[in-house]
């Protein structure tokens, strides 16, 4: 898109789309021209949705999941086991665990995993907040459900060191999850089984 024939407002949209994961320059221009060609209605709805995303959502001050209400519906749900906390890397992982219909505790979202080579260290994750939660709350068990990758395993091993001295029971999802994969892509049955076969650390 180097020709002067494309107005700056379109170019800017294309470039913005291309910054999204999984979207190359080709798809980006296709999306932009699709919006341009269609009725302005779709583009405006998209704009509104994006505005809503930015303005109305924030992190739950307890579990750091994305929410509109604080505390989030899960943290506020008294039918859930508030003493059982499942620690996950990303909000997407929460959806996978909810799909199993087999988990009735609450969550803690780290927003990443330790990865020194990518410049992600303990202070970049919601770890101090998790520690605080354990110190303050009546938590019976922490389930470490970071991904079965080298970063996820590293993060879990580090969390054990931080949490164990606080006297809380710490477990890790059991075997059966594909090594090197993401929780996000694990099917509900496998994930359910991994939850049931979790092991003490």
């Amino acid at each position: 898109m180097t020709t002067a024939a494309v107005p700056p407002s379109v170019t800017q949209l294309i470039e913005t789309f291309a910054e999204l994961p999984g979207i190359g320059p080709k798809t980006a221009s296709r999306l932009a021209f699709f919006l341009l060609r269609g009725k302005s209605e779709l583009a405006l709805r998209l704009a509104e949705a994006l505005q809503g995303l930015v303005n109305n959502t924030h992190f739950c001050s307890t579990c750091y999941n994305v929410t509109e209400a604080d505390p989030c519906p899960i943290c506020a749900d008294q039918l859930r086991d508030q003493q059982l906390v499942c620690v996950i890397e990303e909000p997407m992982d929460l959806l996978s665990l909810e799909r199993t219909d087999n988990y009735h505790g609450v969550y803690h979202v780290l927003h990443g995993a330790l990865s020194p080579l990518e410049g992600i260290f303990a202070e970049d994750l919601r770890i101090a907040e998790l520690e605080k939660r354990v110190r303050e709350g009546a938590i019976r068990e922490i389930i470490l459900a970071t991904n079965p990758t080298s970063e996820g395993d590293y993060t879990a091993a580090y969390l054990v060191q931080r949490l164990k001295p606080l006297g809380v029971r710490v477990t890790r999802l059991g075997r059966g999850l594909p090594v090197g994969g993401d929780l996000e892509y694990a099917d509900a049955v496998t994930l359910s089984r991994a939850l049931e076969s979790r092991q003490d650390l």
Binding site: P116, G119, A122, Y154, Y158, Q161, R162
Partner: protein
């Protein structure tokens, strides 16, 4: 074992090559820079799924291919072993990423089934002998470590995996050490990485110790044969992390005779290694790098109590390297039960007549040897009569009638 056919696409000088190779000695004849070494490199490339000549995969890609939008390089060979024939393939290609960048990707196949690189180990074994191998004796230790890693990677899949895991853990720890130095942070983040380093590092060390001990048995005998019984030679492993050796021995450079004999249980090694890392931690944070472990190991060539790297003459060093490669041949035969493919690049020119004949005699017992040379006159007629000669010119190979 032997190679029955070789196929190259966009590898170094070769745009495209299809070559059938017979058993027995093969002479690759051609002027310099025509593709002789690249052919040997390609075969060695299949043995470990990486080039022994460069740590950057991309460098083996044919220069013309660099211009292509998605350059690639592909090596395939049919390998005949005692009980089976297999097709080994390694391809490297540049794959586009969604963000517009490209990434090198390597894929390895046996009989068209994709496998992990580590599982190439044991399917094709080679002894590669290059003129620059003299640096194995007198050069920096990084070359000797690479030599050991290439040899172990040919035979043990576990070694490949453990060593990769070790290197990955060390690079993560180094990044963390630099972060701690610059920005501070919780040093407890080091512990899980150190546990990984300790467990993989000890295994790497034990493999190296074992192969050096076994090579020494052969190298000593071969060196005596090569020197008319005048000089013994042994390889001495000096692990950077060694819980047994008293620190004073570090300065002396030499170990007591029985040093190789000691045994320690693995748990004790883990503990000592952990303590060694803990002792150096402050210094390591300061330098931003891991200072303890097998990535800093050393191996020395000791002949008649002298370190050949420092005190050996050019001739003595040459004899040491020849003995090393012949020991490697014997070790591979003994460990795998089959003779490896011998790849010799311009090696004869460097040797005197007696050593040359010794080496050529020895080839009679090897199933397949490929010798690259600029000068066919180095080989006696009696040898050339039972040898297939191929002429290499600008990446094209043609058979030559034996005189």
């Amino acid at each position: 074992m032997r190679i029955r056919s070789l196929s190259l696409r966009q590898f170094r000088t070769y745009n495209r090559l299809e070559l059938d190779l017979p058993a027995g000695p093969i002479l690759l004849l051609g002027a310099n820079a025509q593709g002789k070494t690249s052919l040997l490199e390609a075969i060695a490339f299949l043995a470990i799924g990486a080039s022994p000549l460069t740590s950057v995969d991309q460098q083996v890609i044919h220069w013309g291919a660099e211009e292509a939008s998605l350059p690639f390089s592909h090596v395939r060979a049919e390998v005949v072993r005692r009980d089976c024939t297999e097709t080994l393939e390694v391809a490297i290609e540049r794959k586009p990423l969604s963000n517009g960048h490209q990434r090198m990707q390597k894929s390895v196949r046996i009989d068209q089934r994709p496998i992990r690189r580590s599982n190439l180990a044991g399917h094709l074994n080679v002894v590669l002998f290059l003129p620059e191998d003299l640096a194995l004796v007198h050069g920096p230790p990084v070359g000797r470590r690479a030599y050991l890693d290439n040899l172990l990677s040919q035979v043990y899949p576990t070694y490949v995996e453990v060593y990769d895991a070790y290197r990955h853990a060390v690079s993560r720890r180094n990044a963390l050490l630099r972060h701690l130095r610059r920005h501070g942070g919780d040093p407890m983040q080091l512990a899980p990485l150190e546990e990984r380093i300790v467990r993989t590092g000890v295994t790497v060390s034990l493999y190296r110790q074992q192969v050096i001990r076994e090579l020494t048995i052969h190298i000593d005998r071969l060196h005596r044969e090569l020197t008319g019984g005048q000089a013994w030679l042994r390889l001495q492993y000096e692990p950077n992390f060694d819980p047994v050796r008293p620190p004073a021995a570090d300065q002396m450079g030499l170990l007591p005779e029985d040093a190789e004999e000691r045994t320690l249980d693995v748990e004790a090694l883990y503990t000592a290694y952990r303590e060694a890392l803990a002792r150096k931690r402050a210094q390591e944070i300061d330098r931003g790098m891991t200072l303890v472990g097998p990535h800093r190991d050393e191996m020395r060539f000791i002949s008649n109590e002298r370190d050949m790297g420092t005190f050996g003459s050019r001739g003595q060093q040459r004899t040491s390297v020849l003995a090393l490669h012949l020991a490697e041949l014997r070790w591979l035969e003994q460990t795998t039960g089959e003779s490896p493919v011998l790849l010799l690049d311009e090696v004869l020119a460097e040797l005197d007549r007696a050593r040359r004949n010794y080496l050529l005699d020895l080839l009679g017992n090897v199933e397949q040897t490929i010798l690259a040379t600029t000068d066919a006159e180095l080989f006696p007629d009696s040898f050339r009569k039972r040898t297939t000669t191929l002429r290499v010119s600008e990446g094209i190979i043609i058979p030559v009638e034996t005189p």
